[in-house]
Amino acid sequence: MKTGLMLTATAIAAFLAAGPAAAAGKLNIFNWGNYTSPELIEKFSKTYDVEVTVTDYDSNATALAKVKAGGHGFDIVVPSHSYIPIFVAEGLLMESRPDQMENFKHMDPQWVDVDWDPGRHYSVPWQWGSTGVAVNREDYKGDINTSKIFLDPPEELVGKVNVVPEMADVMALALMYVGGESCSTDKDKLKAARDALMAAKPKWLSMDYGTTDKLGSGEWRASVNWNGSTFRARLANPNVEYGYPQEGFPLWMDSAAILKDAVNVENAKLFLNFIMDPENAAMISAFARYANGIKGSEAFMPDDMKTAPEINMPAELAGAGKFNKTCSKEAQDYYTAIWTELTK
């Protein structure tokens, strides 16, 4: 009994002694995998004495489903623009008013009054980019600024193309390829898009994520891919090149926002303000290789990003980039039906 008491007392004393040495607070970030700069997290931890935990997800849908289920313990989530209105409509985000934060002045004005979060009451830009095609130039030397790369692959790429299983992006690419737009409910366009996908599928190798590594290693010779991922693949393998489909390609922006049931609200607000600082925003981009939405961050970016063709959209193709809309239930059901048929 006595030893037991002594042990308890020692444990309490040890706990008290350890107290001040441990971080003053915590912050739990729920973000896309392979997307959060470790240097950024380290700097934030040191500056504010906060213990940060980062948990990964692989799609917006996963993030939404987990957050919706509750009991997740996350403070910050980084959904794509088309999912921000869903998170807001479902009452999952806190109106944390980033527009009233100190570093808001650094945000590029073109990203302030956006459709998905007018005036930026909920979210702060994390990174933005496009979904296009990546091709290994050793195999194919023709024009790659087209969705034909995966929807009507040239001879050299037949049986070698990967398509990321990102339904929203692939469907948007296919719909734009046949002259429609994302989240369309126009049956003629949907049918044309389905037919194009179904006809192309036998010429694909796989439908998988992990594009950065496999394009970089040369295992995949072409893939539907995101621009920053292609950039990273090119650094590993100079033959990889990014194409902006002229028929139309989706643009997206992921934005960091605080969850309504966040526990560490103050630290989360500190973090949103922190990533609007140009120097810190540059760290995000330097890691995942996408553009951010903060003015003046270019000055802090690595030199290879300033001229990268994956980051600097060619002017003549920029017009083809369109932000994916938030699909209605009806459009979503069309998407799923076509997708199931495609992968049956």
């Binding site: 190798l205 799923t336 992968t343």
Partner: protein, 323 residues
């Protein structure tokens, strides 16, 4: 019989009974039954809450309306179940059998059956080999069989990927040896899925087979040889009938998890062709149709139940024929 009778009426009958000793025994047995129920109550409660509870939620969800952005709306709808088996053509509204779902069901069943056959083909000789070793070395062999269980399924699957990918071990060795000029495409094929599942579930076949073979009376085999049975005949008429329970148990243990496999088809199959597990995931994730996902999950459960009933009936028939 009397002791298990109606509990309210039983005491009265017990007192008027001529044989007092019998009443005492039955009372003691009744108490024993009550105590054993009480003792197992916590386990039963956990089982009820942890197994039936979630299933009940799945059942209820499968009859609700899908929310606009995932989740459910609390109003009855048969749409989820309707979509499992039937499809309304999105372009001309005609209703037909859900061809895409049936294709996926069939692929799952086909690949699971093939996996089971591969596991039998590899597991039978393996179990035989172990069962015929000396008593001490058997334990070492069994121990070796269980080693893969120490590692997480996902890691084992990625390890297989490293072996069979275009720049993996198999292709590098074959290329270096000059056997092939171009890497063989093994990844992203049904073969890769079968290989992965057979590897992962093989121990589940070997262990029950071994248990059956260990109890095998080898004198019977000797007797068969003495009566001039050929090797094949010994296998067919003596060994297989005797290890049948193990064979069936192993097949069930391999077939059921194969049917619901998710990681293996996703990683090794390259996601081009779904299996049931992947189809269910699509509904809860990108498809945002939880009721359909719930209905599909229950359909999978039904297929498993049919397989189990099949198993139970075979075992019962076997037991009956033995008596």
């Amino acid at each position: 019989m009397q002791g298990q009778g109606d509990s309210a009426a039983a005491p009265a009958r017990a007192i008027t009974a001529r044989e007092g000793k019998g009443a005492l025994v039955s009372a003691a047995r009744r108490r024993e039954v009550r105590v054993s129920w009480l003792l197992s109550a916590p386990a039963l409660l956990v089982l009820l809450c942890a197994a039936s509870g979630p299933l009940l939620i799945v059942l209820v969800y499968s009859f609700l309306t899908a929310g606009d952005y995932g989740g459910i709306v609390w109003s009855f709808s048969g749409e989820g179940w309707f979509k499992v088996f039937l499809a309304r053509d999105i372009f001309d509204d005609t209703v037909s059998i859900a061809d895409a779902h049936l294709t996926i069901f069939w692929r799952s069943v086909r690949l699971s059956l093939l996996t089971t056959l591969i596991c039998i083909a590899l597991g039978f000789p393996t179990a035989w080999f172990i069962a015929t070793r000396s008593r001490e070395s058997r334990n070492i062999w069994l121990f070796l069989i269980t080693i893969p269980f120490w590692t997480n399924l996902l890691i084992r699957t990625f390890a297989i990927m490293e072996v069979i990918r275009s720049e993996g071990i198999v292709n590098s060795v074959l290329l270096a040896a000059g056997v092939i000029r171009q890497p063989i495409q093994i990844m992203y094929t049904d073969f890769a899925i079968l290989l992965g599942m057979a590897y992962v579930y093989l121990p589940l076949m070997v262990l029950p087979l071994y248990a059956a073979m260990e109890r095998l009376d080898f004198r019977l085999i000797e007797a068969a040889y003495d009566l001039y049975a050929s090797r094949r005949r010994v296998l067919r008429r003596i060994v297989v009938p005797l290890v049948r329970p193990g064979l069936i148990a192993g097949s069930i243990l391999v077939f059921i998890p194969s049917l619901g496999a998710y990681v293996t088809p996703r990683v090794l199959g390259g996601g081009k062709n779904m299996m049931l597990g992947n189809l269910i995931e699509l509904q809860f994730g990108q498809g945002r149709n939880w009721p359909l996902g719930a209905a599909l999950s229950l359909t999978l459960l039904l297929i498993v139940m049919v397989a189990l009933i099949f198993y139970v009936r075979i075992v019962q028939k076997e037991a009956a024929s033995r008596e």
